[in-house]
């Protein structure tokens, strides 16, 4: 797909994918948004505690995961571009690649969780770790949900269920996956980096 195949009208008409997913995305962003604001308030009251706990986090694995998710999002862009040209199998392959990167994200995250849990850290350790674990575990579950959605879309694409004209599901899945990515792009600097 090249940019000139899309007219400005198409960009502005409606959001891509099923409208219902956008209600869902909005609600999800709101839920995480409330949590982010709560984090900011709690941090403002406990700067020292948060700073000290934040230093115990592994920034490099967080950074790698950021790259992994952004790349995965790019693969979904390629998948949507492929189906717009009617290339079902290519589309399915790009989605498979996006899912695989989702899996890598989960694996890296599991190593991090394992380190923290074996160090005896839990939700009750302190307010920072309550936020760190809740936010990352909630996000973790969203990655899993996103992968399930993408897998369903991929299977249908592989069966030739979409065409250049009719591929709403692919855009729906891609929209959700971008949201999962976006959340991490906010979460990573907020929780790992900003001291």
């Amino acid at each position: 797909m090249t940019i000139d195949t899309i007219t400005p009208d198409e960009i502005l008409a409606t959001p891509p994918g099923d409208l219902a997913i956008w209600f869902f995305i909005f609600a999800e962003l709101l839920a995480f948004g409330v949590f982010f604001v709560a984090y900011a308030f709690a941090r403002a009251h406990n700067v020292e505690l948060f700073d000290e706990s934040q230093r115990q986090l592994d920034i490099s694995s967080g950074a790698i995961n950021t790259l992994v998710l952004i790349t995965s999002s790019y693969f979904m862009v390629r998948a949507v571009a492929a189906i717009k040209q009617g290339l079902s199998r290519v589309c399915a392959r790009w989605i498979a690649a996006a899912i695989a990167l989702g899996g890598i994200f989960l694996a890296i995250k599991l190593v991090e969780f394992h380190d923290k849990f074996s160090a005896g850290i839990s939700l009750s350790t302190n307010t920072f770790y309550m936020f760190y674990l809740s936010l990352t575990i909630f996000h973790f579950m969203h990655v899993i949900l996103g992968m399930v959605i993408l897998a369903a879309v991929m299977l249908k694409a592989r069966r030739g269920g979409y065409s250049a004209q009719n591929h709403t599901d692919v855009e729906t899945g891609a929209s959700y996956w971008h949201m999962v990515d976006l959340l991490w792009i906010i979460l990573f600097p907020l929780v790992y980096v900003i001291h």
Binding site: D18, L19, A20, F23, F24, A27, E28, L30, A31, V34, F35, A38, L123, S124, M130, F131, S134
Partner: protein
């Protein structure tokens, strides 16, 4: 009525309304005991009146849900009910069990009832809303299983629609979470912890699915809007309900001995619980505005719209009012809770049942709508009941604010009873509003007997 077997819904609806009357009468007795403490003592002590008031509410709502399912499922599945006979048998079993339980509450002291009904073998009694004796609880499970078997079989042999699947999910969830009423650990924290799995996950979880399905069904019927559009709304609403409601349980875990993180989880997720209710309001108005037919049953339309608005206000806004942990620290277990409880139950579950009954009862009696004069009467009852519940809520909210201020804040907090004396005026006003509610209910029942020109069902 499209299918003969839908007729089994009728006795369920009639029983529901009869028990509703009982609930309101006991509410009035109890409301009067708030201001005249020894009214009807020792015949009907306050704790017994309260138990009857809340238990009747739950039982009549369940009758309403079952009636709604028996009416809705055959029409959605496009097939006769699996077994109308079974539905009638369970109706009488459930009614008898319910009546016997209330008689038991009123006739003997609660402790005697507990001893006589095997509470020593398996202690499940004595907990708010789950006061039912063991045989009643087992009866509820048996009735629920037979009912679920009946409607699930109907759906399995017929057309499967989103509405019937959401309704089934809600009703199965209702049965599953009731099982926690049998689990009564001696550790008080654990007891309360799992008690909420029945109480909270009913009203802020699976019941909302039932509510959504019932509302969607009536909206399809009265507006003629495409099923596809309505189903999409339904899915988004139930997804939001479950996302916010399940972890929202945490707003009951602030001060009962559970870990501190619940204060965050409960606050954040339950702060979002108004969203699905708000979406329901937008949904109802949106569908009615886009209607493609003028259904003659205007009263049912009014109830459907009212459900959206009042559920949002009662469950959403009044819930949010005291759901954040720092606020709840002061408001916990005050009259604010009572205010929320009254408007939420009325707005969500009473009104959705009345919506369904308002739509289905004329059909069950062979006409598409009641006569215009009967509908006018019904609309009067709508406004009387709705406005009086708004006033009950406002009076209790005022009482609650004052109670918290006097009893829990300030330099020299008053004792509980001293604070109660100070808010007496609001209890009197609440009782007066309660009588207006009863008047509304009487008009509602009267509207069923009101004659006049009617349109026969197509």
């Amino acid at each position: 009525m499209q299918f003969k077997s839908q007729a089994v819904a009728k006795p369920y609806f009639i029983a529901a309304i009869a028990l509703f009357v009982g609930q309101i009468l006991f509410g009035l007795i109890m409301g009067f005991q708030y201001v005249v403490g020894d009214f009807l003592f020792p015949e009907i002590p306050f704790n017994v009146a309260r138990m009857v008031h809340t238990n009747l509410l739950i039982v009549w709502l369940l009758f309403g849900f079952m009636g709604a399912a028996y009416y809705l499922i055959p029409e959605e599945a496009e097939t006769e009910l699996f077994s109308p006979r079974l539905a009638l048998i369970t109706f009488w079993v459930f009614l008898a069990a319910g009546a016997l339980t209330v008689v038991g509450y009123l006739a003997v002291p609660y402790a005697t009832l507990a001893e006589a009904t095997g509470n020593n073998m398996l202690a499940t009694m004595g907990r708010e809303f789950l006061e039912q004796p063991l045989p009643t609880k087992i009866g509820i499970v048996v009735v629920a299983l037979v009912f679920l078997f009946n409607i699930s079989m109907t759906v399995l042999k017929g057309r499967k629609t989103s509405i019937s699947l959401v309704l089934l999910l809600g009703l199965w969830g209702l049965a599953v979470f009731f099982l926690f009423s049998f689990y009564n650990p001696s550790n008080l924290v654990l007891d309360k912890y799992f008690w909420w799995w029945t109480v909270h996950l009913w009203v802020e979880g699976v019941w909302e699915l039932i509510l959504g399905a019932m509302l969607a069904f009536v909206l399809i019927k009265i507006t003629g809007v495409d099923r596809e559009v309505i189903e999409k709304w339904l899915y988004v609403i139930i997804a939001m309900t479950l996302i916010t409601g399940i972890i929202g349980t945490g707003h009951h875990y602030f001060w009962i001995g559970t870990p501190e993180y619940w204060q965050w989880f409960g606050s954040v997720f339950s702060a979002l619980e108004p969203i699905p209710f708000f979406m329901m309001t937008v949904f109802a108005f949106n569908m009615v505005n886009r209607r493609r037919r003028e259904h003659p049953n205007k009263a049912a339309t009014l109830w459907a719209l009212g459900t959206g608005v009042m559920a949002f206000l009662g469950a959403g806004v009044w819930g949010f009012l005291h759901t954040l942990a720092p606020v709840n620290f002061y408001t916990h277990g005050s009259q604010i809770t009572a205010a929320h409880g009254h408007m939420a139950f009325y707005g969500a579950y009473v009104m959705v049942n009345l919506t369904m009954i308002s739509y289905a009862m004329p059909m069950l009696r062979g006409r598409s709508a009641n006569s215009p004069s009967a509908q006018v009467l019904e609309m009067w009852s709508f406004w009387l009941m709705t406005v009086s519940i708004v006033f009950i809520t406002l009076f209790l909210t005022a009482a609650g604010i004052l109670q918290i201020w006097l009893q829990r804040m300030g330099e020299t907090p008053m004792s509980f009873m001293a604070a109660q004396d100070q808010i007496m005026l609001f209890y009197w006003l609440r009782e007066a509003a309660g009588f207006v509610f009863l008047l509304g209910l009487v008009l509602y029942i009267w509207s069923f007997f009101k004659k006049g020109e009617v349109q026969t069902a197509a």
